[in-house]
């Protein structure tokens, strides 16, 4: 019975807090919502940029050019050898005719100059796609060295300079991004914990009175913790809604701009509910201990 009364009381108090503190709750939620917005914008930009990077890096391929007039058997041997390499995901054969056709397409209306050619000067080639996890200049270098020795292979090429430069850029990006992310995250935590503290401070009088009439810490804390969780949920939903609006607007100018997946949104909201209740708990705890 006492347990049920206590639960009823705590729920009642929470509802009451939400009802009575409508304005201050709204202000808190808006402040939290906007600071969370900064955080989710940051996360989304990071995700989108890293997606572009992944895609860009994925487009870098190693080409294995074959000697002119190599027979089918040797070509197939080379294919098998290449597929046997750990870091290789796939191999595509590009015949000299295909290559010429592609070249012609790239030249567009200037393709006339190709008419002068007596024979196709381009070699047959294999285009190697690397596994994403081993898409590094080191792995490419290794393939280039090994394959160059094989019978029937004329040359191996990849955008060595580009790959190396790209890798530096990516590394720099992630480091700056991580540092920035840490700053954003800490600021958000700071803003939110201050908001929570203020909202508790504004009710310090009734908390004092509760203590005087013999309310246990549990009775005092639980409504605050539930309120914190609700504020976390509402403010994270607000941040997500704002971001979604901004995204669908920006999407017109930046096609391919991705939004979080549904699971991502749910995860974020749950995390914020958790952080909200923890934040309230820590704040009220400190206040009660004094």
């Amino acid at each position: 019975m006492a347990g049920i009364n206590a639960a009823k009381y705590m729920l009642g108090e929470t509802v009451r807090m939400l009802k009575c503190g409508k304005v201050s709750n709204l202000i808190s939620v808006i402040i939290m919502g906007f600071s969370l917005l900064v955080l989710v914008i940051f996360i989304l930009v990071t995700l989108n940029v890293s997606m572009v990077i992944e895609k860009g890096m994925g487009e870098i391929c190693v080409y294995v050019y074959l000697e002119d007039g190599v027979d089918n058997k040797i070509t197939e041997e080379i294919r098998a050898e290449l597929l046997g390499i750990e870091s290789v995901r796939g191999v595509v054969f590009v015949s000299k005719d295909e290559a010429l056709e592609k070249f012609r397409e790239q030249l567009g209306k200037n393709s006339d100059i190709l008419e002068e050619l007596e024979a196709n000067p381009l070699p047959d080639a294999f285009r190697i796609q690397m596994k994403p996890e081993s898409n590094t200049s080191l792995a490419m270098e290794k393939i280039a060295r090994t394959a160059a020795e094989w019978r029937g292979v004329d040359d191996v090429r990849y955008g060595k300079k580009w790959v190396e430069r790209g890798e530096k850029l990516v590394k720099g990006f992630y480091m700056t991004d991580f540092a920035l992310g840490l700053i954003v995250f800490l600021s958000v935590i700071f803003v939110i914990s201050n908001t929570v503290r203020l909202s508790i401070l504004s009710r310090r009088e009734s908390v004092e009175i509760m203590k005087l009439i013999g309310a246990t810490n549990m009775y005092i804390q639980v409504p605050f913790v539930i309120e914190g969780a609700i504020q976390g949920i509402v403010s994270s939903l607000l941040a997500m809604a704002l971001l979604w609006g901004a995204c669908s607007f920006a999407g017109r100018y930046l096609p391919g701009l991705g939004f979080f997946r549904f699971e991502g949104v749910v995860g974020f909201v749950v995390l914020c509910a958790f952080l909200g209740s923890i934040g309230s708990f820590v704040a009220i705890r400190k206040f009660l201990k004094r």
């Binding site: 006492a2 009381y9 009575c20 009088e205 203590k211 005087l212 009439i213 013999g214």
Partner: protein, 270 residues
Amino acid sequence: MLVYEIMPGEKRIIAGVYHLSKVLGRHFALKDINFQLANGEFVFLVGASGAGKSTLLRMMYMDDIPDSGQVIMGAYVSTRIKRSDIPRLRRKIGIVFQDFRLIGDRTVFENVALAMKVAGTGITEIKHEMTNILTRVGLYHKRYELPGALSGGEQQRVAIARAVANKPAVLLADEPTGNLDPMVTRGILELLFKINSGGTAVLMATHDVELVKSFGQRIIYLQDGKIAKDKEMLFRGNLRESISNSRVDHRVKKFTEHSIGEDDDGKRES
């Protein structure tokens, strides 16, 4: 029904302060305070501003702990009490202040009900009791008002109703009439007497000697943190004897409605 007319055997000590000293800032706010409170007693604690009345009461509801000596409230001893037991103690005593300390955004009913809710009482029982309590303080008709809509005297009545809602063994009142004019003061005092006649011991701090003298109750005079005079001194020997016997303390735990026993809510409920 003056205290010293009651036979010593009939009395039970429900609260005691023993060799209590407290330093605040660089001075003794209280120095070697000794007194006891029997069940059903009404005691005025009189002293000038700064004499240490509020400090003494704070030690009694264990908002602060003595630097030396101890306070015993029923089964709770200041030197041994656990943090988690303080709320339990507070539910067994009532506290009233000069500034009422009502929650401004709750109605009269809700303010009083809160004390009962906090003690784990169900809403059905609260509603049932509330008619009684609010009628007793003469505010049943104003139960849906907010404190801000009430006069000072009425607010203090609400505070008193809240303080006695859980049928406490002791009511501690710190200058409950300090903010009120003489007419209203009288009404509040009468209410406190009425509550006292229901069995609750009352310890009321005030600086108004003249007001208090006319009632013939026991008066403890506090001066610069020391007890200057205590009518109860007359039979101090007897009380000392009864309280120094630790078995008495245990018996105190056991008594019924008007005791500050250990919290037995859980046991009774299950």
